[in-house]
């Protein structure tokens, strides 16, 4: 029976090949309508399908992390040759499925385990968070910047740390108040966390969570905020300063083009790991495409002058633009995590003249100076 199934599968695969189209499938952890993580991946999928006439795509949404295996089975049965699994929690399910289907190519977002037919990929924001932090530091009057985080995992901690380094580069005494909601998507929780931060006196906001809630709540109180993931400028045009945007399409197009060209095969992906940042244009600074800083905030940012160790007397706006240009260059003349950096307990985490490696960034558990609030798994 299995043999027959396999034969049918091969036949289907050959048919798909005969049609000349490469079939790629996406597995999403949330609904496309979340206007956050899954929405952004779907934008990337559509971009890839539009770019390549030889590509046919399909997707399933809201797939529970434990059930990824059976959805992969279904996709393979439909003749899919390349599968993108877009949640960290799919990791082990994907690796198991990869053993079952050695001729199918898998790519797993945000993971760190690879196999001959499993690649990993990530579009990371830490550079952009630093730039947002610079602006937040210039705009806070109370010296308290609020941050609503989803889960205390290394990815989010890295982003809060980068953001806080930016805040303190402009405003050395400022604090970043952190609240966790322990969910990727829960608008009510995000709203109440923001309200709690407002009650604590925070007057500028940033977040890692999959909805525009924080932006909306801050705007109701006439407070500035930084958007996350999707273009959220329109949710509060007078109060969103900037933010970070993702372009998963950049990675998807590159990956699929290389599969189509025969560069990536189910045998040689063991070392294929996309860690794409500003230079690869996988991420962008701004709350809307092509708008790095909301023009309404440019005068205030230009008026705020600081003394920078490299550039001397400089306005925050110019500093943001300069560092953005430097970080967009593959040479990376600047990096937020460049020593000396101490954690909030006083330990030297990054010695002078040293930068953190990708592996160190991906496993970051400590908190930089200036972060206040709970920080689970903080090293002693």
């Amino acid at each position: 029976m299995k043999r027959v199934g396999l034969a049918v599968l091969l036949l289907l695969g050959m048919l798909a090949m005969a049609e000349g189209k490469l079939k790629a499938g996406w597995i999403y952890v949330g609904p496309i309508g979340d206007y956050g993580w899954t929405h952004a991946h779907d934008v990337g999928r559509k971009e890839a399908e539009k770019a390549f006439p030889w590509l046919k795509t399909l997707y399933v949404e809201s797939v529970p992390e434990g059930q990824v295996g059976s959805y992969i089975d279904q996709m393979v049965r439909q003749g899919v040759r390349v599968i993108f699994a877009t949640s960290f929690g799919y990791m082990d399910g994907v690796l198991e499925a990869a053993k079952r289907y050695p001729n199918v190519i898998f790519a797993h977002a945000t993971g760190f385990k690879r196999a001959p037919n499993v690649a990993t990929y990530m579009a990371d924001f830490y550079q952009v968070y630093y730039l947002n932090g610079l602006m937040a530091g210039a705009l806070t009057k109370s010296g308290k910047v609020g941050y609503v985080g989803a889960f205390p995992i290394p990815e989010v901690k890295r982003h809060i740390n980068a953001f806080t380094l930016g805040v303190r580069a402009v405003n050395p005494k400022a604090k970043v108040l952190v609240r966790w909601i322990y969910e990727w998507y829960n608008p009510a929780a995000a709203k109440e966390a923001t309200e709690a931060l407002i009650a604590e006196g925070a007057d500028v906001f940033a977040f890692t969570e999959d909805s525009p809630t924080v932006v909306q709540v801050a705007a109701e109180k006439h407070l500035p905020s930084f958007s996350h993931y999707s273009p959220m400028l329109k949710f509060a045009p007078d109060y969103v300063v900037s933010g970070q945007l993702v372009h998963w399409g950049a990675i998807y197009k590159d990956f699929l083009a290389k599969v189509y060209a025969g560069l990536y095969t189910p045998k040689n992906l063991k070392d294929v790991d996309y860690w794409w940042l500003l230079p690869q244009k996988a991420v962008e600074l701004g709350a809307d495409y092509g708008v790095p800083v909301n023009p309404k905030f440019i005068p205030a940012l230009k008026a705020k002058k600081i003394h920078h160790p490299v550039f001397g007397e400089i306005s925050v706006y110019d500093l943001v633009m300069k560092l953005k240009a430097m970080m967009s260059d593959v040479e990376l003349a600047f990096d937020p995590f460049q020593g000396p950096i101490k954690d909030r307990k006083g330990h030297l985490r990054v010695p002078a003249g040293v930068r953190l490696t990708q592996a160190q960034l991906e496993s970051m558990e400590w908190a930089v100076e200036g972060v206040t609030g709970p920080w689970p798994n903080e090293p002693k």
Partner: protein, 307 residues
Amino acid sequence: MVESWWVSTLARGLAFSAPLLLAALGELVAERSGVINLGVEGMMILGALSGFAVADASGNPWLGVMAAAGVGTLAALLHAFFSITLRANTYVSGLALTMVGLGLSGLLGKPFAGRPLAHPLPKLDIPGLSSIPWLGPGLFQGQNALLYLALLAAFLLWYFLYRTRGGITLRSVGENPAAADALGVNVYLVRYLATAFGGAMAGVAGAYLSVAYRPSWTEGMTAGMGWIALAIVIFAAWDPLRAVAAAFLFGAFYHLAYRFQAHLPPEFLKMTPYLFTVLFLVLGALGKSVRLGAPEALGRPYVRGER
């Protein structure tokens, strides 16, 4: 400036309790007539979507609220038809309504995701009252008209249930439908009306979320509030005024968990909503043994002439 925890707890507790209270009051009336509707979550999310869609298209948030009430009513009538007229299993019918509501709203809501609502329900600042010491800033500053409507509804419902003939009729149908029938009460009609009211209130609760609390539409935005409303009904022992207290308690703890997150273990925060739901249910169940107001004929379809 750090706001006092008292003011912020009162203000946020009330704001968060409004959708819970609206949905719970509706369910309370339905259950008082003997009909359990586990479809609160589904009716709420359908209300949230239709409320957003109509408010978005018309530019008038109140039209959105009314549309939400209408859609909630229609959904509830579906449940009424299955559980009252066809006498299908009332739990299955309600659960089905929740699942259909969540699925259908996700499907139909796609074009509305990621759009801000240009004209949400305004926040009210009531001059004079908001300067009352202790209570003023929390009760009368930046709250939403729907919150006051919910509180008013609780008092009116309490009066209706215990002080009017209509209330006695409703309660008698939930306690002993055969006796009510013998007295000439149209049991089916009363149950239909009560269920429809429950749907309208759940719809308005959903609209509160999408046109007032966080004016936008996102899939699954009710995030389990319908279930909490069901628990509140039991905890409140089917009494509208106790429902106000129960909903506020829930909202207040929700806020405090964030306010004092630094001093609480994260696991505690994560389980708070569920902990309280379970606690409510346990207290409610304990209450049942001493007959704390559960309608006698709750969840039992009525068949004329059968005992």
